[in-house]
């Protein structure tokens, strides 16, 4: 996560140097998105269609993006933070309101998703959805079968029950290094409100996580894709699309590794990555054109087919690969959707408790 960020910040520093010197008549849009999160032909198509050059740069943690945005003068025109981060960034005055008159394709958006993102961005004034997904359990079917006697996981119990996780210790367990994803899951498993900010509840979540801590090999937010695909680990608490990418890489490698993904029956967190335009974006007009292009049904479907995440565009669903659209782990059915919950951003005081708790869990002290 971090070394990649170091590389990224170095490249983006260079990037700002070069783009600053561009000619006024060259139309440019500087896009900052998650790594491995787009079919690159989409960018070429956009340039061909509009003549706008895309300077595409990537990050792999919300924290890095947020720090750049809060420092100001990032030079980016389109950024893609997750909704709970976006909510706080809106409060800090990071973004400009979208000019909906420049976004005719907004009519393609899916109300099921827009209603939920409106909790973070009231009336969706500042952002439109790019992709969304869940936080669940990715696992190596054969290794889990060998350790637990079943290759079907459907509950958080596999992870939060120390007896069961102990059996998976030797084949390897990775967990997202992201308290905002894991602590709500612990609260949900304990039957508490995943959005609880009560220190008592957070302490209970901490206790539950400390019980399974001895069986966790590593907390990391991107290494688990390769680790799962290579068969180095047998269980990962991770983001849906990442697990699917691991599954595809494993299939390509033909080493006999089969990866499964489960949305636990107790409920799982639903997250949203939102496209937004910074208030100080140097090319706001081009940014609107880019976002509008990304809401074209064929385009966003192409992206979903590539990154294996569901998008928030209803009209695109006819162009999404059938296998992906029918996969209830990607596009959950109505019953599963009911069990999905969203997480609100923490206030600074709770954030401090959460981070402190997380340090205790991760370091075991």
């Amino acid at each position: 996560m971090i070394r990649k960020a170091l590389l990224l910040s170095a490249t983006s520093a260079l990037l700002t140097l070069f783009t600053a010197g561009g000619h006024a008549d060259d139309r440019v849009v500087n896009v900052y998105n998650w790594s491995d999160y787009i079919d690159s032909s989409i960018i070429d198509d956009f340039t061909k269609k509009t003549g706008i050059k895309v300077v595409y740069d990537t990050f792999d943690s919300n924290e890095i993006l947020e720090t750049k945005l809060l420092a100001g003068g990032s030079g980016y025109d389109v950024v893609v933070p997750s909704a709970n981060f976006l909510a706080r960034q809106i409060q800090a005055g990071v973004f400009q309101k979208l000019d909906k008159s420049k976004l005719p394709n907004i009519s393609n958006m899916w109300d099921v998703v827009s209603e939920r993102t409106a909790k973070y961005d009231p009336s969706n004034e500042y952002s439109v959805n790019y992709m969304w997904g869940t936080v669940g359990l990715g696992y190596n079917m054969k290794k889990v079968q060998a350790a637990l006697g079943t290759d079907k996981i459907d509950s958080w119990d596999v992870f939060f029950n120390p007896e069961s996780l102990a059996k998976l210790k030797d084949c390897g367990v990775y967990v997202l290094d992201s308290p905002a994803d894991i602590i709500p899951a612990a609260l949900k498993y304990l039957g508490l409100d995943p959005n609880s900010t009560s220190p008592d509840d957070i302490a209970k979540a901490q206790e539950a996580l400390l019980k399974v801590r001895p069986y966790i090999r590593k907390f990391h937010s991107s290494e688990y894709i390769n680790a799962l695909a290579n068969g180095d680990i047998c269980l990962a608490v991770g983001w849906s699309g990442d697990v699917f990418q691991a599954r595809n890489r494993a299939e390509e490698a033909k080493q006999g590794v089969e990866i499964g993904y489960s949305v636990p029956k107790e409920g799982a967190q639903m997250w949203f990555d939102q496209m937004a335009i910074p208030a100080d974006a140097p090319h706001a007009a081009e940014a609107h054109e880019f976002i509008n292009y990304m809401m074209t049904p064929e385009v966003i479907a192409k992206s979903s087919n590539y990154v294996l995440y569901a998008n928030g565009n209803k009209a695109s669903q006819q162009f999404v690969d059938k296998a992906l659209l029918e996969d209830t782990a990607v596009y959950p059915d109505e019953e599963t959707t009911k069990k999905l919950y969203t997480v609100q951003p923490y206030d600074p005081k709770t954030q401090r408790i959460i981070t402190r708790t997380w340090t205790k869990i991760v370091t075991g002290q």
Binding site: I2, R3, L6, L7, S61, E63, I64, E66, T67, L69, L70, A71, G72, R88, Q91, A92, G93, V94, D177, P179, I216, R217, K218, F219, H220, N230, D232, P348, Q351, R352, T355, R356, W358, T359, V362, T363, G364, Q365
Partner: protein, 320 residues
């Protein structure tokens, strides 16, 4: 550095007066540049960091309240002095986390430094004793790794140390072990990473002090019946002491604040100050507290840095 000075000064004395004046100007300019460098790239950033460490977090851009702002003119600036508070520093003392992180960092850096010395000394010694014709090549070999990105070299160690990695495969194939060694994500891996990465910083100063040593001293010791081991401890090692001190500090100081190696090679349980600072800055968005952590880290390092400078000054006097 002293070699260069020695090489330049005689020629300066033989040149004519006007060019000597010009040289005086140039040498003053040469001195000014490092000071300007320190001013702009050390002192100014430090003052900015220190200023942020006295502010409070806020949901805004940038995410902290302004402190000692000139926006209200000089009087506002002076009024700001009365409102200064050191809450962020008090906060650091209230949670054992920070203290533990500082202590762990110093211990890890200390152990790594000793290990680097143990590995680096024989290398430097071998280089210094090698025939003069091979020495430039050996020196080149020590510097060569710098041509590859530091990140990539640390990443390569993941491939070597992981359970299915190169090291385990070799050891398993040769039958030395029957179970793969778990090295990656442990403290051992951090030590390996730091020793590997900082080895040149240890070897180069050691080499330069060992190379200068007069070997006839050892011959004299031998003639007088001194066994090689005690000749080493009585002559070679004391004479190389400036190199030892320089090397140790060059390894210790950056290792205390090391962030990349523990993050990549260490396990999640590793609590070092670099990671703590990262957490405060990125996860908590608490720029003021992370600035306070950085200021304390700097103060913690100033003691060895000053020690280093005094040792260097002493070594230079000895040379004269």
């Amino acid at each position: 550095m002293t070699d260069i000075a020695a090489a330049v000064s005689p020629s300066a004395e033989t040149t004519a007066l006007p060019s000597r004046l010009a040289q005086g100007f140039i040498s003053r300019l040469v001195i000014i540049i490092p000071y300007l460098w320190l001013l702009f790239f050390f002192l100014v950033p430090f003052i900015i960091v220190f200023k942020i460490s006295l502010s409070q977090t806020a949901i805004s851009m940038p995410p902290y309240t302004p402190v000692l702002d000139f926006a209200d003119g000089i009087s506002g600036f002076l009024a700001g002095f009365r409102e200064l508070n050191f809450d962020n520093y008090t906060w650091l003392t209230q949670d054992a986390l920070y203290f533990n992180a500082y202590v762990t960092s110093v211990i890890i850096a200390g152990i790594s430094t000793v290990l680097t010395l143990i590995v680096g000394y024989p290398i430097a010694y071998g280089m210094a004793r090698a025939p003069a014709s091979v020495r430039p090549t050996l020196l080149m070999l020590v510097i060569l790794p710098f041509w590859t990105s530091f990140l990539i070299r640390v990443y390569a160690w993941i491939g070597i140390l992981k359970p299915e990695g190169l090291l385990n495969q070799v050891l398993l194939a040769t039958g030395i072990i029957s179970q793969p060694l778990i090295i990656l994500n442990t403290y051992t891996a951090i030590f390996i990473g730091i020793v590997y990465s900082y080895l040149p910083f240890m070897v180069l100063p050691l080499y330069s002090s060992l190379e200068k040593m007069d070997y006839s001293l050892i011959e004299a010791a031998k003639d007088l019946g001194c066994p090689p081991t005690s000749a080493f401890w009585k002559i070679t090692f004391p004479l190389s002491l400036p190199g030892v001190i320089a090397g140790c500090l060059l390894v210790f100081i950056p290792a205390v604040g090391e962030f990349v190696i523990p993050d990549l090679l260490g396990g999640s349980q590793t609590l070092m100050i670099g990671k703590t600072l990262w957490n405060e800055f990125f996860a908590n968005r608490d720029w003021p507290v992370s600035s306070a952590v950085a200021v304390i880290l700097l103060l913690l390092l100033i003691v060895p840095i000053m020690f280093f400078q005094r040792a260097q000054a002493r070594a230079q006097e000895q040379d004269k």
